[in-house]
Structures are given as structure tokens and as C-alpha cells.
């Protein structure tokens, strides 16, 4: 019984973290129609920022500032938001898929730095001993996991509530107007570029926040945690759940993460141990097929509103 409960806690923490990131992606894509292919890069920015700020000092390393968890979380959001601002400022006036290419480039850059700037990021070995908040009181067992789950769920609820409010506000209505008809929105004096830039930066901040939550939960990060497959899983979550709907993003996170965990368990059970390393890529292929099948069969996802990116002269 305890082991089931313990696994469920583990599983749900990941769902909550992915849901926060997927909500950020939904703001960018679902609400604004901005295509981000570099989600993993923004998540990594947040994870590394918080990890480097909160880990204790160590000889031979540039980073390690021993700062509180809350500072790390805040800085993670801010820095990921800044990267988003830079990316958006560079591309949001141009063709829509130039943004996609640039976000891809940004994620390649961030991976390159994470992998090679060893004094700062620990290189391929990553950052270890990332502090787990409140561990002095809660220990390392189930209590800590359950508390972390509670905190993640509270943060998720706050993000959800904030985004719902934001999208109902005049600001959100302008975003919707831009998505439906960019020229009409521009003709009544709305500065399309600025609204897009703000939406992209806020979405990036949420991705950074999710990355930091991941880092402090697992306690260890390395470049291979932030490969393009992460971007792809998040897109699958948004598309399966239904882009344009915040509840869809959360539901999709649970469905796709469940699907991913189950297919991993199935592959481990069905394939002999010696073949498992070789068969690991098949799991990726399965999720690729899932996303393509959803696009073909149910382009609006389970709970989606968005009609294929809306009309836009950049289409």
C-alpha cells in the first residue's frame, strides 16, 4: 500500500511540474499562436539557475551561492523570462516559423553551454546535491515527497488561477483578438508585437519555474535531462489535452506522462534486459506517433478550442 502511495506521489509531482510548463506553452501557443520548439532550453535555464544559486559553495566551481530555495525559484523564472524576451525581440516581427527556428537555436545553445561550461554547470556530470527545501524538518522519506507534492499543487493552482484571470482581463482579450485577426487588432491601435512579446516572456517564465521545481525535487540535473524529447513530450501534453485550454494542458500532462511511464514499464517488462538500451528509442517513437495521430484524428485535442493557429497574414 505504502509503495503505491509513494509511487503515486512521485508520479503526481511530475504531473504538476509538467502541467506548469505546459501552461506556459499554452499561453505562448494556445493563446497567442507562438510556436516554441526550444521548451527544453527554457526549462533547463530555470533548472540550472536555481540549482546554481542554491547549492553550497565548492572549490573549483564558479557557482554555488547557498541562497534560499525561494530566491532560486524566483531567479529561475526571471532568467528564463529574459531569455524569452531576447528570443521574442529577435523574431516576433518576422515570419512565424522564424520564431520556431530561433527557439530551436536557443535550446541548442543552452545545451551546448550546459554540456561544456564545466566550471559553471558541471558539464556532462551536471549539478549534484541540489538542496531539497525544508529537508531538516521533513526528512527524506514519504513526508518530504508528500509536502513537495502539496507545494507543487499549490503553485500549479496559483499559476492556473493567474492565467485564467489574465486571459479574461482586457490584456487576454487583446491576445485573443490578435490570434483571431491580427490586422483587425492592429487597426484598432493594439500593438501586436508588444502583446506577443509579453505573452512569450510570461510563458518562458513559467517554463523556468517548472525547471527549478524539477531540479529541487530530483536533487540532480544534467544536460541529458533537457534533450529535445522533453520539448516533444510537452507539445504532446498540450496537443493531446487540447491547445487553447488551460484545463486541457493540465489534463494532457497527466495523460501523456501516464502514457509515457506506462510505455516505459511495458518496454522494460516485454524486452529482455540485454536489449533494453537498444529499445529505449522506441519509446520516443511511440510518443511521436501519438502526437502525429492526434494531429490527424483530433486536431483540437481532448479539450481544445484553438482552430489550427487562427488566421494570420504570416500563416
Amino acid at each position: 500500500m505504502m509503495s503505491v502511495l509513494s509511487y503515486a506521489t512521485f508520479f503526481l509531482v511530475f504531473v504538476a511540474i509538467y502541467a506548469i510548463i505546459a501552461l506556459g506553452l499554452n499561453l505562448q501557443w494556445g493563446a497567442t499562436g507562438l510556436f516554441n520548439v526550444g521548451v527544453a532550453g527554457f526549462v533547463a535555464t530555470g533548472a540550472y539557475t536555481s540549482a546554481l544559486l542554491t547549492t553550497p559553495q565548492e572549490t573549483g566551481r564558479v557557482a554555488g551561492f547557498n541562497l534560499p530555495f525561494a530566491v532560486g525559484l524566483l531567479a529561475a523564472g526571471l532568467l528564463a523570462g529574459l531569455v524569452g524576451l531576447f528570443t521574442g525581440a529577435l523574431t516576433l516581427r518576422l515570419r512565424r516559423d522564424y520564431l520556431a527556428i530561433t527557439t530551436f537555436g536557443v535550446s541548442v545553445m543552452i545545451e551546448t553551454v550546459a554540456r561544456n561550461a564545466t566550471p559553471l554547470t558541471g558539464g556532462v556530470f551536471g549539478v549534484q546535491f541540489i538542496p531539497k527545501p525544508m529537508q531538516a524538518w521533513l526528512g527524506t522519506g514519504f513526508e518530504w515527497n508528500a509536502s513537495y507534492l502539496a507545494m507543487s499543487l499549490v503553485l500549479l493552482a496559483l499559476v492556473y488561477w493567474g492565467l485564467e484571470r489574465l486571459l479574461e482581463s482586457p490584456w487576454g482579450r487583446v491576445l485573443r483578438a490578435i490570434r483571431e485577426d491580427e490586422d483587425a487588432a492592429a487597426s484598432i491601435g493594439k500593438r501586436v508585437y508588444l502583446f506577443r512579446l509579453q505573452s512569450f516572456a510570461i510563458g518562458s517564465m513559467l517554463m523556468g519555474l517548472g525547471g527549478a521545481l524539477y531540479a529541487h525535487f530530483v536533487g540532480f540535473i544534467a544536460p541529458q535531462d533537457f534533450l529535445p524529447i522533453l520539448t516533444f513530450q510537452l507539445w504532446a501534453m498540450l496537443i493531446v489535452g487540447g491547445s487553447g485550454s488551460n484545463r486541457g494542458a493540465i489534463l494532457g500532462s497527466a495523460v501523456v506522462w501516464g502514457f509515457w511511464s506506462a510505455s516505459g514499464a511495458l518496454l522494460r517488462a516485454a524486452i529482455p534486459a540485454a536489449e533494453q538500451a537498444r529499445a529505449a528509442p522506441l519509446q520516443t517513437a511511440i510518443i511521436g506517433v501519438l502526437i502525429a495521430a492526434t494531429l490527424l484524428a483530433r486536431p483540437r485535442g481532448i479539450l481544445g478550442h484553438l482552430q489550427s493557429g487562427g488566421r494570420s497574414k504570416h500563416g
Binding site: 516559423d97 537555436g105 554540456r115 517513437a285
Partner: protein
Amino acid sequence: MLQLVADGIIVGSIVALAAIGLSLTLSIFRFSNFSHGELLAWGAYLALVVNGMIGTSSAAIGPFSFGWGPVFATLCAVAGTAALAVGLDALLFRRLRRQGSITLVIASFGASLVLRSLLQYWQGGVPKYYSESLQIAINIVPRSFHGGLRLTADQMLVIALTLVVAACLHGFLRYTLLGRSMRAAAANPDLARVVGINPERVFLATWIIGGSLAAIAGVFAGITVQLRPTMGTELLLPLFSAVILGGTGSRISTLWGAVLGGFVLGLSESAAVSLLGAEYRPVAAFVVLTVILLVKPNGLFGDKSA
């Protein structure tokens, strides 16, 4: 110094060949195909597999490291990769074309992951080589002059063939009916349809050309570096940078724009490797991309409306 430039031009020819195909798909279908890099990797591995099946008994041609066997294997890989591109379109892209360019970008991103995973499953992650034997580099410029220059015959062939292929494609786009139809469809798809150009024929030709060139680029990358399942993904950012640098659209000059872009990318990677070290190679493509987006987002030869 000279050697760095030469290395850059060799990498540049690989990028250029693949960039021509990517630029064509971007101009005709108007979406950024994130699975183009995987076509390159599949082409490289298909050639390896065919070459393994026919054996390496054939004698080497002239100064090159390979005989007629690998040439035949490359032709098979070209056909196979073109078929893969056409199949991908029939299975996925064609059905999503009405939903707009961004849905196609998502789909191509998914397709790239599936193709790469399948390749990794099929061939394993360990780097492979076409030939185990070392080739002797020919001394072209003595060491006393700017560090000298040494090239293998294979490397010289790669550079020469890239230019020949680009010139042939130029002729095709300039003089044949199909090539001119392709340019018309790139300039204005609706008008092209009105004058009786069958868009499906244009689409088919675009995938065949794009897939074929990607396969050749993949084989060249395999000859000059090595084969890895991630080789296509690693070239994706340089490819996009080269395409945006050259510009997209209906003009033939965008073809040479993609070639020029490829060489610029190869040379800047070479510079990045010597300045920052090999592990920072991707920085070059990102810097070129950033600069071109800031300074001339339509590229050097692109249509104004891009």
C-alpha cells in the same frame, strides 16, 4: 589558417547540399521542415547498409578511397531517401497541408523524433564509418605557406560535386518545364494553379529533389566525418541558418544563396572551432542566425514578402 578555410569549405559543401533541399521545401510548401536533417542521416545509413550488402570487393577508382560499389550504394540511398521523403508527405504532411504552416512545423518536429529514434534503434548509437582504411592526404600547399594545406581526394570530390549538383539544379530550374513550374508555384501558388500547373507534380518533384540532395549530403558527411544517428539533428541549426542567410522564394538566386549560406556556415564553424574549441561548434550557426535576423531577415537573395 589555409587548412581551417579548407575544412570549413568541406563542411560548407555538406551544409550547402542539404540547405538547397531545405530551401526548396521552405519556398514551395512554406513551412520549416524540422525533419530534413533526419533525411540526411537516413541517406547516410542507407548507403552504409547497401554498401555492406554488396561487399567491398570492388577496386578503388583512381585516387579515391572507394570503388564502384559505394557509388552504387549512394545511388540506392538517394532513391531510398527520396522515397522516404515522398512517403512522409503522403503519410503526414499532405493530410495536414490545409491546417496551415505551423501545424506542419509541429508534425515535422514529431516526424524528426520518430525517424531519429527508429534509426537509433535500427543501427545503434555507436559511430560508424564507411571505410576502416585511412586515406593519405595530398599536400597541396607546403607547410611553410600559412600553415600549408592537405586534402584527401575524397574531400576534393565532395567540394567539386557540390558545385556540379548546384549547377545542374540551376539548369533544371531555369530551362525545364517542371523546374519553371516549381518556381512559379513558389512565387504564387494560386496563380500557378490558374495557368494549369499541377501542384501535386510540383510537390512530388520538391520532395524527390530535397530527399535526394539530403542523401548525398549525408553520404558526404559520412565520408568526411562519421555516421551517427544524431548527425542530421546536429546539422539542423546550420541548415536553417544557411537557408535564412540565402533567402527563400522563387528566384534562382536563392539556390546559390543556399550554397553561399552553406559555405558561410562551414567557414564560421571552422572559425568557432579554432577560437572556442570543437565543443562550441554550434555557437557559430546561432551567431550567424542572430546576425542575419537582426540585419537582413529576408536573407541575401530572398523575395521581399518573406
